[in-house]
Amino acid sequence: MASSVTTPPRSGLFRDGFDLGRLLLEGRAFFALIVIIVVFSFLSPYYFSVSNFLIMSSHVAIYGILAIGMLLVILNGGIDLSVGSTLGLAGVVAGFLMQGVTLNALGVVLYPPIWVVVLLVCALGALVGMINGILIARFKVPAFVATLGVMYVARGFALLMTNGLTYNNLGGKAELGNTGFDWLGFNRLAGIPIGVVVLVVLALIISLVLNRSAFGRWLYSTGGNERAAELSGVPVKKVQVAVYMLSGICAAIAGLILSSQLTSAGPTAGTSYELTAIAAVVIGGAALTGGRGNIRGTLLGAFVIGFLSDGLVIIGISSYWQTVFTGAVIVLAVLLNAVQYRRRVKKTTETDGPSASLQPTGKGQTADATHGKIAS
């Protein structure tokens, strides 16, 4: 009798045979991107060209970098609403550093070189992320609330630093040795905008981290089942703090690239970008409950959003309609996620069911199980 219970499942690559619906469902972000490209190429003669793709890609880079950080947080089962504000704050701080830091005590004005600016801004992003992470991991503040608060605080600081104004002079001066900020936003490496190069490099690194490092496995396991991960010796709190720090760093990098692209650093930059980043991750098939998702999907998600909104601009559709379309795509993506995970959950619970339903789930019942069973 036991054998019937423990028969191995006939699983594998072709468990259900070839299933077109399933293929479309699982590769939906990819197919959506192709559909977007094909449709807009028909609608506009300017859309399908290398130069346009590169321009659109440099727009995508901002969302993409934010989305990579967001993916880490979402894999952990959390959410980071502060990235848009962190992006804005990072830009403002970079602008502030470019104007020179006056040290009154010493009577000097410091003009840090660009690489120092970049490092300091990334450190700032990490700090904001660490605050999020500590609030969430140590003080058990729900991620939504903690990052919502930090979102306001970071935005407030950005506004305070400039009094609501924008830094327009980011070029630096040759004699001060702090030129080169525009490199991030305007230069190209082998014809590819630096922002896109940064996106690709980040994606490769994070992909390696997720798939091949112990940290990646820890992240997937804490997102999938934190209690089980903890009992398996995974440092769940450290992982949690680390993902928010990485998300903050990604936001800071995006902030640097954006202000370089715009040649100005405004305190309101990046408002509501966190939502776009979340949307990209969701379109990419990640589960908001944690544990499922990957870089490939997230990048596709970012490209779907970017190519769609730029396409709508190119064919001259009103920006109000753009909002409607973007929203519809997001809802559709989440709907399909729900379909996909419900399928998977169904599969899991169908085989999982007996152990769940046959064993008493209440903690109390087991001890009672034998109560009086063999009493004489």
Binding site: A2, V234, G291, L358, T366
Partner: protein, 513 residues
């Protein structure tokens, strides 16, 4: 071991009958063609061990889950329930094993949840309260209908659950473990209520693990084993021994303590460990308990619900804070260390609830198996694929998990194999001491025997094993030493030659009728 699908004598007084009911979850067969009758105005009791299929069968009869095949016959007509409320409309209601109350609402609101008494202007709360009060009076329970359910103790919550089922005028009432949290007096009252119901023609299906208690109220007994009905009889023709014999079937050998080697040094030393109740009541669930376990020794901890077994094991593993005492592994004090540091020192825990604490459902079998020993195949920040595969293959081979190479979804495994994955995961860290909290919970007898065999093999190689159980039969299998816990303390220690009765007496298990 072929199942015996005896068809009960077709009796005219059957109000509801199951005809060849089968239920499969994937390739796991929870029910294999069950036939049984519920007699009009009588108490039909279902007996069976954990996992025999009782709860699944009741869920099918009450419309909660559909059967894979087979018919439900109500008053001679085949019926199909699409939902629980469908079944309720046919006069069938169920008291579930797990409480299904909303703790933030009052007793009154819980009793009438979803069936509020409406008037033209809203809900007639006064009438609801009056009826709730009357129900509480019937159950001889002094609970004000306006009390919030979360303020009630567990037994009273169970009373509310029962009251809710009674408030629906049902013809058939299914009670799945209604007494697990009730006191003896409350059980007596419940039985009085049941007798009153049956005299009014209500048919009762009763499920309980308290065999003697259940036998008092039973009119017809039905015994399930491994998803099939093994016997049924009228209460006057049977006794406790008959029930146990049919429940357990032929005696399955769970093994004996491994011999032929000497125990090593003390591997685990628990010194005066206390654990305070998590709810903050200040009550010690583990009370200055001390225990030494030698390398190669297998210790079984037996105790009733609430004896503090889980708390003890979780505290030793680092999951719960100690309020006093020390934990020493091979001479090293690990009391202040984190769970992962304790795993590094060779102290691991296999938790009681494998779904909640043991498995990461989003990951594959292999990823689950290797989770606790990632460090062993990580070099220069990167995991070695081949190194991981070696760990996974090794685990699968050593603990006989039936799967194809570890890439399958963890949810595709049977309960027994899932449990082996959790054990294999911790064994892959090469521990010195393994703690297992109810390792046999919810797995079938064959898998149980395999788990015990695995543990005794590892013990013979010097692993110290501590496992807890709530089944006396399991104490008398591979354990060299049996510890009985009662109210957070060790109430007795026995060698392997103890009798079941002695263990149960020491646990405080009431052997009353």
């Amino acid at each position: 071991m072929k199942p015996l699908p005896q068809t009960p004598p077709a009796s005219s007084d059957a109000v509801l009958s199951a005809r060849n009911i089968a239920k499969s979850y994937g390739n796991v067969h929870a029910l294999k063609g069950v036939n049984f009758d519920i007699h009009r105005g009588k108490v039909t009791t279902l007996f069976g061990e954990n996992g025999a299929g009782k709860s699944t069968l009741m869920k099918i009869l009450s419309g909660v889950v559909p059967p894979t095949s087979g018919d439900i016959v109500l008053d001679g007509d085949v019926v199909q329930f699409s939902s629980a409320s469908d079944a309720r409309d046919c006069g069938i209601s169920i008291i579930h094993q797990e409480l299904s109350l909303a703790p933030n609402l009052s007793v009154r609101d819980n009793i009438f949840m979803g069936r509020e008494i409406r008037t033209a202007t809203g809900v007639d709360f006064a009438e609801e309260a009056r009826q709730a009060r009357a129900l509480m009076a019937d159950l001889e329970e002094d609970i004000d209908p306006m009390t919030l359910v979360e303020d009630l103790r567990l037994g009273q919550q169970q009373i509310v659950e029962i009251a809710r089922a009674l408030s629906v005028d049902s013809r058939i009432l299914i009670m799945d473990e209604p007494t697990s949290a009730l006191s003896a007096t409350e059980v007596e009252v419940l039985f009085k209520v049941i007798r009153d119901l049956t005299s009014r023609g209500v048919s009762i299906v009763y499920i309980s693990h308290h065999l003697e208690e259940a036998l008092q109220i039973t009119d017809y007994a039905v015994v399930l084993r491994d998803g099939a009905m093994t016997a049924n009889a009228e209460a006057k023709d049977i006794d406790l021994e008959w029930i146990v014999r049919n429940m357990v079937g032929e005696n399955f050998d769970l093994g004996s303590p491994p011999t032929g080697y000497a125990f090593g040094q003390t591997a685990l030393s628990i010194e005066d460990v206390s654990v305070t109740d998590a709810s903050g009541s200040g009550y010690s669930v583990v009370d200055r308990l001390s225990l030494d376990v030698k390398a190669g020794e297998i210790v079984c901890i037996y105790g009733l619900m609430g004896a503090g077994r889980t708390e003890l094991l979780e505290a030793v593993a680092g999951r719960m804070p100690l309020s006093g005492g020390r934990v020493i592994v091979e001479g090293d004090d690990v009391t202040r260390l984190s769970i992962s540091q304790r795993i590094d020192r060779g102290l691991v825990l296999v938790p009681e609830d494998r779904q909640r604490d043991g498995l990461v459902q989003t990951m594959s079998v292999g990823q689950n198996l290797s989770l606790a020993s990632i460090a062993s195949f990580t070099k220069r920040m990167l995991m070695s694929r081949s190194g991981e595969q070696a760990v996974v293959n090794d685990a699968i081979r050593k603990i006989h998990i039936k799967t194809d190479g570890g890439r399958a979804a963890i949810g595709s495994l049977s309960g027994g194999n899932q449990q082996k994955v959790v054990i294999g995961k911790m064994l892959a860290t090469n521990p010195r001491v393994i703690l297992l909290d109810e390792p046999s919970r919810g797995i079938d007898i064959g898998a149980k025997a395999e788990v015990f065999r695995l543990l005794s093999e590892r013990a013979a190689k010097g692993l110290a094993v501590v496992f807890s159980t709530s089944e006396v039969a399991e104490c008398l299998s591979i354990a060299h030493r049996i510890i009985v816990m009662r109210r957070g303390k060790i109430s007795a220690q026995f060698g392997a030659d103890v009798s079941k009765e002695e263990i149960m007496a020491a646990s405080g298990e009431a052997v009353h009728v």
